[in-house]
C-alpha cells in the first residue's frame, strides 16, 4: 500500500509548474478572456515537454502514461487557470482513442492511430462531445481541432473523431469565455468512425468518469489558487488598523475552505488510481472526487469573494478569472449533487 506520487511524477509536476508560471500569467489568461482565440505559445511549450502526448502509447510517439500521471499536471493547469483543454485532450481523448486502436476495423483503428499521433505531436486540442445530445453544447468546441462525438448506430453508440474543420459550430455565451462552449452540427460519415463496432456503454461511461476526475483535478488547482490569493490579500488589506486576516471571522472563512480542499485532494488521486486499475469501485471513486472537488472549489470561490469584498467583484481583480472557471467546472461533467446521487446509487447496488 502506498498512496503518494513517485519522485518522477513530482518532478514532472514541478517542471510543468515552472513552464506555466512563465507562460500562463494572469495577464495571459486575461487576454484569452478578452479574445479566446488569442494565439499563445503555451500549447507548444507543453507539447515540447511531451505533456500533450503523455498518455499516447509509446509506439505512437507518446509516453504511455496513465491518469494518475496526468492529474497533478492538470492541477497545475487549474492553479493558473490555463485556457487550453489540456486535461480533456490528455486525460480523456487520448485514452478513448487508444481504446479504439484495438478494434477489429482496420480503417477505424488506423484513424484512431493517426489522431493519437497528432496528439502526440501537439497538433490536436480535443473537445469531448461523446455525451452531448444533438442540442447540447460542447465545451471547447469553438477552439478544438479534434472533436470526439458519438452517433447512435443500429447497434448502439459509435464514436467518431471529427476534425474541427468538418463541423459547424454555434457558440454559446458563457460567463467564462475561455470555455468556448458551442453547439456542434456535424455529419457522421464512414470516414470519421474510430470505433466501427459500437463501443461498450461501459467504455463511454468510463470516458465520463475520466472527464469527471480530470475536471476535479482542475478544480483542486483553482481552489488552491483562490485560497492562496485570498490569504495574500487578507494579509495585506488593512481595516480597523490591522490586516483583515487577523480577524477571526476571516480566518475561519479561509480555514473552512482550506479543510474542504485538503480532503478533496486525496479523493481525486484515489479516483485516478482506481480508474487506471479498473477497480470495481472506480466509478464511485470518480463521483466522490468530482462531488468533493466541486464543493471545494465552490466554497473557495464563495469565501474568496467574501474576503476580497467589493474588489473581488471587479473586472480588474484577477480573482474573477478563477471564480468563473470554478463556477463552470463545478457543474461540468456532473454537479456535486449529481455525483452524490451516483455514489448513493452505487452503494445501494451492492447491498
Amino acid at each position: 500500500m502506498r498512496f503518494a506520487f513517485t519522485d518522477q511524477q513530482l518532478e514532472f509536476r514541478d517542471a510543468v509548474r515552472q513552464v506555466l508560471t512563465k507562460e500562463c500569467t494572469t495577464a495571459d489568461v486575461r487576454a484569452a478572456f478578452e479574445d479566446p482565440g488569442t494565439p499563445s505559445g503555451r500549447w507548444a511549450a507543453l507539447a515540447d515537454m511531451g505533456i500533450i502526448g503523455m498518455t499516447v502509447p509509446e509506439n505512437l510517439g507518446g509516453l504511455g502514461l496513465s491518469l494518475i500521471d496526468v492529474v497533478p499536471l492538470v492541477e497545475e493547469a487549474g492553479r493558473v487557470a490555463l485556457p487550453e483543454p489540456l486535461g480533456l485532450t490528455v486525460g480523456v481523448a487520448a485514452p478513448l482513442l487508444t481504446a479504439c486502436v484495438s478494434g477489429d476495423d482496420a480503417d477505424a483503428s488506423a484513424r484512431a492511430r493517426t489522431w493519437l499521433e497528432r496528439i502526440a505531436g501537439g497538433d490536436a486540442a480535443a473537445a469531448i462531445g461523446t455525451h452531448a445530445g444533438p442540442d447540447v453544447p460542447v465545451a471547447g468546441a469553438a477552439g478544438a481541432n479534434l472533436l470526439l462525438m458519438t452517433a447512435i448506430g443500429p447497434e448502439g453508440p459509435v464514436v467518431h473523431a471529427v476534425a474541427g474543420t468538418d463541423v459547424s459550430i454555434t457558440p454559446v455565451s458563457t460567463l467564462d469565455p475561455t470555455r468556448r462552449l458551442a453547439s456542434v452540427a456535424w455529419q457522421p460519415g464512414t470516414d470519421t468512425v474510430v470505433a466501427s463496432a459500437p463501443l461498450s456503454p461501459a467504455l463511454l461511461e468510463r470516458t465520463a468518469q475520466r472527464a469527471a476526475v480530470i475536471t476535479a483535478a482542475e478544480l483542486l488547482g483553482l481552489a488552491e489558487a483562490m485560497i492562496d490569493m485570498t490569504a495574500a490579500y487578507a494579509k495585506e488589506r488593512q481595516q480597523f488598523g490591522k490586516p483583515i486576516g487577523s480577524f477571526q471571522a476571516i480566518k475561519h472563512l479561509l480555514a473552512g475552505a482550506q479543510v474542504v480542499l485538503e480532503f478533496a485532494r486525496p479523493t481525486v488521486y484515489g479516483a485516478a488510481w482506481a480508474l487506471d486499475h479498473d477497480e470495481a469501485d472506480a466509478g464511485r471513486s470518480a463521483s466522490v472526487a468530482k462531488a468533493y472537488a466541486s464543493e471545494a472549489a465552490l466554497e473557495a470561490a464563495r469565501v474568496s469573494l467574501q474576503v476580497h469584498g467589493a474588489i473581488g467583484y471587479t473586472w480588474e481583480c484577477d480573482l474573477q478569472l478563477f471564480l468563473k472557471r470554478s463556477w463552470a467546472l463545478a457543474e461540468a461533467w456532473g454537479s456535486a449533487s449529481d455525483h452524490r446521487a451516483l455514489v448513493l446509487e452505487s452503494l445501494l447496488a451492492v447491498r
Partner: protein
C-alpha cells in the same frame, strides 16, 4: 393596540393594490426587456421608465403628494412592491436616492432641501449615487479620509478625496457622501454629510468595470470641489449620526423589499416544476433546497410585515436591521444557488439565453453579503447589540 392581528389587506389597501396592478399591467415593460441599468443606454431606458411611473405618481407611493408621492403608508408601499415584482418590472435605477437618501432627507433635510431635491428624485430627472466607501474605508467606514475644508469667504466647503464603489456613479447627476470636516476629531466624529452636484468642477469619475464586464460602479475623485452651505444635510460634524440614524431605522426595511425575493422564489419553484416534468429523479434531489429557499423568502416577507407594523405603531428598528441584512442576502444566495443546481450544465450560460438570468442573479446575490456593510460586520452588530456580547 387593541386591533386584532389581521394579515389581510383592508378594503382600502386592496383597492390600492388593484389600482397599482392595473396601472403596472398597462405600463410596465416586459420582464428583462430593458438593457442592463449598468450600461449607458440601459441607464437612460430605466430613467425613462421611472419618469413614466412618476408621471402617474407611482414612482414613490409612500412619499407625500407634494413631493410626487401618494402619501400612503409603509404597508401600502409593500403592497405596491408586491405588484411591481410580480410583473418582474425593472430594477429601480433611482434606488440609491429614493431608498437610501430620501429617508435621511425626510428626517434631517430643511424644507428647502426637500423641495429642491425630492421632486426631481421622484421623477428620475436627477439620479443619485452614494459616496460612502473609500479605498481604505470599507468595512471600517469610520476610517474615512476624504476631507472638506471650510471656506468662510465663499460660504461653503471645499472637498478633496476619493470615494469608491459608487453604484451607478458613472451616470448619476448627484452624489451624497460623508467627508471629514474636522481633521482633528477621531473616527466617527467630525464627519459631515454633503449633497454634491456631480457637474461641479473638480469632480472626476472613473467607471469600474464589474466582474461581468458592465460598469456597475465607479470611483469618484474630488479635487477642490466647492459645496455651498445649503447642501450640507443635517449638522456639520454630525454626518455619522445623520447617516446611521436612517440606516438603523429605515434602511433595514426599505433597502430590499420582500416582494423581490418572493418573486425570485416563485420563479425558482416554477423552474423546479418545469424541470421535474422532464427529469423527476434528478430534480427531486433539489427539492429540499428549493423548499428551504422559498421559505427563506416567505419568512422575510412575514418578518417585514411584523417590523412594519411595529414601526407604524411607534416602534423603532434597531440592530434587527443587521439581522435583516444577513437574512435577505442569504436568501438571495439560497434561491440562486438552488436554481443553478437545477440547471446543471446550462448554469454557466450567460447573455440572452433562457437560463442566463439565474447566473446574472447569482452574481448579483454574491455581492449581497458584501455591500451595505459586510455580513461579518452585521454579525458583530447582532452579537453586540442584540445579545450584549462585549466588543473585542
Amino acid at each position: 393596540m387593541d386591533a386584532p392581528m389581521d394579515l389581510h389587506g383592508t378594503p382600502t389597501q386592496e383597492a390600492f393594490r388593484a389600482e397599482a396592478r392595473a396601472w403596472l399591467e398597462a405600463h410596465a415593460p416586459a420582464p428583462r426587456s430593458l438593457p442592463s441599468l449598468d450600461t449607458a443606454s440601459g441607464f437612460e431606458a430605466h430613467r425613462a421608465w421611472e419618469a413614466e411611473m412618476a408621471a402617474d405618481r407611482w414612482s414613490v407611493v409612500s412619499w407625500p403628494e407634494e413631493y410626487g408621492g401618494r402619501g400612503v403608508g409603509i404597508l401600502e408601499w409593500l403592497i405596491f412592491e408586491e405588484e411591481y415584482w410580480k410583473l418582474q418590472a425593472p430594477l429601480r435605477v433611482s434606488q440609491n436616492g429614493i431608498f437610501l437618501l430620501a429617508p435621511t432627507l425626510f428626517e434631517f433635510g430643511t424644507d428647502e432641501q426637500k423641495s429642491r431635491f425630492l421632486p426631481p428624485m421622484a421623477a428620475a430627472t436627477e439620479i443619485w449615487c452614494q459616496g460612502w466607501s473609500e479605498p481604505d474605508a470599507g468595512s471600517d467606514l469610520a476610517g474615512i479620509r476624504s476631507r472638506a475644508r471650510r471656506s468662510e469667504t465663499e460660504g461653503g466647503w471645499v472637498l478633496t478625496g476619493q470615494k469608491t464603489w459608487a453604484s451607478r456613479g458613472a451616470f448619476a447627476e448627484w452624489c451624497f457622501g460623508l467627508f471629514r470636516t474636522d481633521p482633528e476629531a477621531e473616527r466617527h466624529k467630525g464627519l459631515t454629510y454633503f449633497l454634491i452636484d456631480m457637474a461641479t468642477p473638480g469632480v472626476t469619475v472613473r467607471p469600474i468595470p464589474q466582474i461581468d464586464g458592465e460598469t456597475g460602479f465607479a470611483e469618484l475623485f474630488f479635487e477642490e470641489v466647492f459645496v455651498p452651505d445649503h447642501l450640507v444635510l443635517g449638522e456639520v460634524g454630525k454626518g455619522w449620526n445623520v447617516a446611521m440614524a436612517t440606516a438603523g431605522s429605515e434602511r433595514g426595511l426599505s433597502l430590499r423589499s420582500p416582494a423581490r425575493y418572493t418573486e425570485a422564489a416563485n420563479r425558482l419553484v416554477d423552474l423546479y416544476a418545469e424541470r421535474f416534468t422532464g427529469d423527476p429523479d434528478r430534480t427531486r434531489r433539489s427539492a429540499d433546497a428549493v423548499a428551504a429557499a422559498w421559505m427563506d423568502a416567505e419568512a422575510y416577507r412575514l418578518n417585514t410585515l411584523w417590523t412594519a407594523t411595529r414601526v407604524l405603531e411607534g416602534g423603532a428598528v434597531g440592530p434587527e436591521a443587521s439581522a435583516n441584512k444577513i437574512h435577505w442576502s442569504q436568501t438571495d444566495l439560497a434561491i440562486h444557488r438552488a436554481a443553478l443546481d437545477l440547471l446543471g450544465p446550462t448554469a454557466e450560460f450567460h447573455g440572452d439565453g433562457i437560463d442566463a438570468p439565474w447566473l446574472d442573479g447569482y452574481l448579483f446575490a454574491l455581492a449581497g453579503p458584501i455591500y451595505a456593510g459586510t455580513n461579518e460586520i452585521q454579525r458583530n452588530v447582532v452579537a453586540e447589540r442584540m445579545l450584549g456580547l462585549p466588543r473585542a
